[in-house]
Symmetry: C2
Subunit: 430 residues, 2 copies
């Protein structure tokens, strides 16, 4: 089959997406149409008091759909919080899952559905290798409707669920097309409830999904070529379809991110960013992400005392989008030489005049463009500002090594020394 060493094909998969202001009001009818008799509704304690969950509950009640609610999802979930949700799902014998929240809620719900459908499985069975066993998913999962309330994760479109593996102090995840939600119900009115910093950080996640998938190793340079199509990974490298999504998401970020952060009532900006998160999600869900995301997992996992502005949680966290974007200037300065045209095109879409820029300067120019956006949006000045020092770099590097699933999609090969230099260059940004 594969006379060539590198892959010669890519596959595009994504969830069905329904978009409209007020669309969540329909969810009770959808569940009725699906014949749902026992729905698991997952959310978190903050959201459970807010309109996005209220609208869903009203619709379920109105259409006589029976449900149980689980509101103990942890913001930035861990293996422990995943397991608690899985236990709830196993005991409930649910026939449909509904996740109302950001990436934390949707990812937790995917894991709960997966393990409840495979009651015999050990937790590590489906976790990505080399941390887990990365086993194939054989049972059919129950339908899952994802209702995203942040504009960042794209989790409503992907087969990925991410968590902090506490023993390792690093994030890892489960990635399999079988985890894709049946339907992503994207209601832009929900994003009007995001605090400003949540809008900023989830917007940075969109930005990095788009930039990383656009610059990822092309699918036909990824190796090895899988010996059976079932082994083609979810993250396959950049390809002509993911490029369309990435470019389009970048254009929306360039136009609307600042407005969405500054004014929670700017419906046009916030709903545009919501669609951008879908677009970037479909792109990276097929192409993958690389160094910003790979390095973000230990940045989030090793958090000491950082209290994220604008987040209503009782534990120290580095919000996902923040942990991703802080290394982005250093990362794209590092990767630019492998595909300078794409780095320049990204800088141009983000608003920089690149007409007289040489290819050799592509990395510097994109890095400067990103620094300028972060400065304008009052982002903390690098890893130092969120509590890290140079002494932490070895453990940050150590936590990045197991993230091979994503880091191997970097267009530029890298050593531990390179990672060390990238973390060092991200200590201070301005």
């Amino acid at each position: 089959m594969c006379e060539r060493k590198t892959d010669y094909a890519f596959e595009m998969a994504c969830s069905n997406i329904r978009y409209g202001a007020g669309v969540t009001k329909e969810i009770g009818m959808d569940l009725q149409n699906m014949g749902a008799r026992n729905v698991c509704l997952m959310t978190d304690r903050t959201l459970s008091q807010l309109p996005p969950v209220g609208v869903v509950l009203d619709s379920l009640t109105k259409h006589g759909v029976e449900y149980k609610i689980y509101e103990d999802v942890r913001v930035e979930p861990t293996d422990k919080s995943f397991k608690a949700a899985i236990d709830f799902a196993k005991q409930g014998h649910f026939d449909v899952y509904v996740a109302v929240g950001g990436g934390s809620v949707i990812d937790t719900c995917k894991a709960a559905n997966l393990y409840a459908s495979h009651p015999e499985a050990e937790f590590l069975d489906f976790v990505n290798a080399p941390i887990g066993k990365g086993k194939p998913i054989t049972a059919s999962l129950k339908p899952l409707i994802a209702v995203p309330t942040t504009a960042g994760t794209g989790s409503e479109t992907t087969g990925v669920a991410i968590f902090d593996f506490e023993n390792l102090k690093a994030k890892t995840g489960i990635a399999n097309r079988a985890l894709k939600p049946t339907l992503g119900m994207v209601d832009p009115l929900h994003t009007l409830h995001m605090p400003s910093r949540v809008a900023a950080n989830s917007g940075f996640d969109v930005l990095c999904h788009a930039l990383e998938s656009f610059t990822a190793l092309p699918y036909n340079l990824r190796s090895p070529c899988p010996s059976n199509p079932i082994n083609r990974p979810a993250y396959q490298g950049s390809n002509p379809i993911s490029d369309v999504w990435a470019r389009h998401a970048l254009k929306i970020v360039a136009k609307y991110l600042k407005r969405a952060v500054r004014d929670a009532g700017d419906v046009e900006a916030r709903s545009s960013m919501h669609l951008a998160s879908v677009f970037a999600g479909i792109g990276f869900g097929n192409a993958g992400v690389h160094l910003c995301h790979g390095m973000s997992y230990p940045i989030a996992g090793n958090v000491k005392t950082h209290r994220a502005r604008g987040y209503n949680v009782e534990h120290p966290i580095v919000p996902h989008g923040l942990s991703v974007v802080l290394t982005s200037p250093a990362v794209f300065a590092f990767t630019a030489n492998m595909c300078p045209e794409r780095h320049l095109e990204a800088a141009q879409i983000l608003g920089t005049d690149v007409s007289n820029i040489k290819k050799d300067d592509a990395g510097r120019v994109l890095a400067d463009t990103l620094r300028s956006i972060l400065y304008d949006l009052e982002v903390e000045d690098g890893l130092f500002a969120i509590g890290y020092t140079k002494e932490d770099i070895p453990s940050l590097v150590k936590g990045t090594i197991p993230q091979e699933r994503v880091t191997k999609l970097s267009p530029r090969a890298h050593t531990e020394e390179d990672l060390t230099a990238l973390f060092a260059a991200s200590m201070k940004l301005y």
Copy 2:
């Protein structure tokens, strides 16, 4: 639910798409992975002698997959040819379907799978209203892998199957998300077997899919708003996701269509057009098409003696793409006033300098752009050149009236007099 009269939401659905040169060689492994024991392979008599089918047969044999082959698909299928394929499917009790061919083959295979899964149904039950009953599809269909060999139909991405209803002398179809193929396996090497006129006509189908979905009535102006989401039609009007696909497909058509027609060996051009057909298919599969397609059905259905150049068939036909594109200059001149910016943008993407064009001239400019492309590609000079006269216009109009499923997506409302004028204006192009 729907306080508003017009729809407030749209849904994006599409098949999984796998793309790569040589990717069909894998199909035996995919079928093995799916546990297929009794595969129905559908194709037509021309293709059955060509490499695209040969590669599939080799792969099935190599992986020990049992199959039966049906090669009696009619190019431009009819209700009669659909029924013959349905009978074959019912008798075969197949567990997976594989369609290798253009839109005719893929659409026939969708219908065979549908009615074999609903053995009690009458043929008209699922045909679009008002010609058929447009009943909902309740049974689960068997998996269907579509392997397109032309670069036009986009049928590998959509839930639509089109046929000539011989009594009515007009095309109609079945449109339901349940018909979507499980996987579209897009192998650009297959398009190297297309004769030049097939490349041209299928390329015109891509062009019109993109132009019509880009200019279709916006989803949030379509009415009525469905009272239940299950009643939201497959064709929902233009929306921010279909716009991305339509614009991108137009760009590829502008760059590669002429090259793909002129030189069958131009792998870059032919494989780019193959991807463009996927992109346009995802776009129109969600947004819909309008007047060019609605008017094309009687143009094809009333064919008298026209023998299409480059087609190896024994009956008179007007190839689908040709029947669609011949009215396009008149149609877009007619619709332009409703969204002149989009008509100008389309003309610009197709290569016309629109910097000094007034909005009032948008229709004329796009029409001239299209006429110029058709002239360069040596397309027959209008309906007259394929055997129609002014005396035929009343029956062409009569055949368009039942195509309300698509014509209602025209951005501009129209009367029978308007349709008469559009056919008259399409009699001669140059």
